[in-house]
């Protein structure tokens, strides 16, 4: 295997390692929220450092590959998209930390039903499938991830309106509800990150941007 191919494999492996850590953080965050488990919240913070370290390492690797190998075609697309996927995964970690930090302030629960758990689970699924699409070169799966974002947005909207209603009804729950608004906003942002990753996967595979479909055909000169 050529040294360039080895380095490209290192890049892919690095992104998969980051994705593994991000998924573990999401899982721990879901558990910390449900169980009010402060130990798990602390684990989330510790894992975030690993993500940050990976980000620096992979950023440098991408720059080196661009500078030393002048890549083209699918190699170029992989490296260019990696430069965008890596910070998305790093941001997933930051959002998990933001949620985990609030676990102490959202109990006892004020939301009826399992909508909060569902939001976490759907977001986790989006990140997992986006990463699977990257690993498996799976364009249909990447498209499916992008479509899932609307469902998460809708669920977010529902919970948000419910929290507003609760705050109006009972001022005593305002503090918990405001923390929860930030919690659901962070979940919703993680789903956006999954969408962005899926869009990059499509760029790598198909060579054209999947972003902003409403602008398609109106290229900027």
């Amino acid at each position: 295997m050529r040294s360039f191919d080895t380095e490209l494999k290192n890049l892919r492996d690095g992104i998969m390692a980051m994705a593994g850590i991000a998924e573990e953080m999401i899982e721990l965050t879901i558990q910390a929220l449900a169980e009010r488990a402060s130990a798990k919240a602390e684990q989330v913070q510790a894992l975030d450092r690993q993500l940050d370290e990976w980000e620096l390492k992979l950023d440098q690797l991408c720059i080196d590959l661009l500078a030393l190998h002048a890549p083209a075609a699918r190699d170029l697309r992989l490296i260019a998209s990696s430069l965008k996927i890596v910070p998305e995964l790093e941001r997933v970690g930051d959002h998990c930390c933001n949620i985990a930090r609030r676990t102490a302030f959202v109990h006892p629960p004020i939301l009826a039903g399992d909508s909060l758990e569902q939001l976490g689970a759907r977001t986790r699924s989006m990140i997992r499938r986006a990463v699977d699409a990257f690993v498996g070169h799976d364009a249909p799966l990447a498209h499916a991830v992008i479509q899932s974002d609307d469902e998460v947005d809708e669920l977010y909207g529902q919970i948000y309106r419910e929290l507003l209603r609760l705050m109006l009804a009972d001022p005593l729950c305002i503090e918990r509800a405001s923390h929860l608004i930030l919690v659901i906003k962070n979940w919703e942002r993680i789903a956006d990150q999954a969408t962005n990753i899926a869009e990059e996967v499509l760029y790598i595979l198909e060579g054209r941007s999947a972003k902003h479909p409403y602008l398609r055909g109106n290229a900027v000169e």
Binding site: R2, F4, P71, A72, A73, L76, G207, R208, A219, E221
Partner: protein
Amino acid sequence: MLNPQIPETKPVKLAVRGMNFWYGEKKILHDLSMDIHAERATAIIGPSGCGKSTFLKCFNRIHEVSSQVRVTGDMLMDGVDINRGGIDQVDLRRRVGMVFQKPNPFPRSIYENVAFGPRLFGVRDRATLDDLVEDALRKAALWDEVKDRLKDSATGMSGGQQQRLCIARALAVHPEVLLMDEPCSALDPIATSKIEELIFELKDSLTIVIVTHNMQQAARVSDYTAFFWLGKMVEMDLTERIFTTPRERMTEDYITGRFG
């Protein structure tokens, strides 16, 4: 760089249709067809022996020095066939200039090298020749370096200067097309970058066809890139597309260094 979303506005300068090239019994080029647009740089890339230099040389009929060569199909310049359209060989070579891999100045003064072409075409007046020489040397970005030593021998110049002198020599007869066969392969990076800058400026008024082994050079200087393999054209497209999203697997493998 041309935007793939915007249609080409420049007319076709050279149109090749179903062209084949034989050397004796051996068929070197197979059924080539392409459009080369005016005021654009078109790069031809491909592994050694793919026929890209042979193809380039057909545009000014250098192959005519050999009786073994046979060309079929159409090669049109402004709609007139350069092989069968009654175009005189000398006139064709004035309209279609060529720069080779290794700088090949005549062993004469800098001035005489550039004045050679115009003299051949009958320019005798000294003041007119002076103007033509200065103009060509300026266009080749060489004037400032040589204006005080025009009588010095061209062979004493650096490789990069010699190559720009060869470009000036080609420009002195006001060609419409400039063929460049690996013009930078014998040059260092600084001289290479000067030639590349020059290509960029010259294509404002000329049609440029460049054969290069250096894929990054093709990416930097050309608007269109054609990939040749075993005497066939595998793919031709906007350079931007060839280097980011080629259609053919073979092109992809070649430009990513995974060929063969």
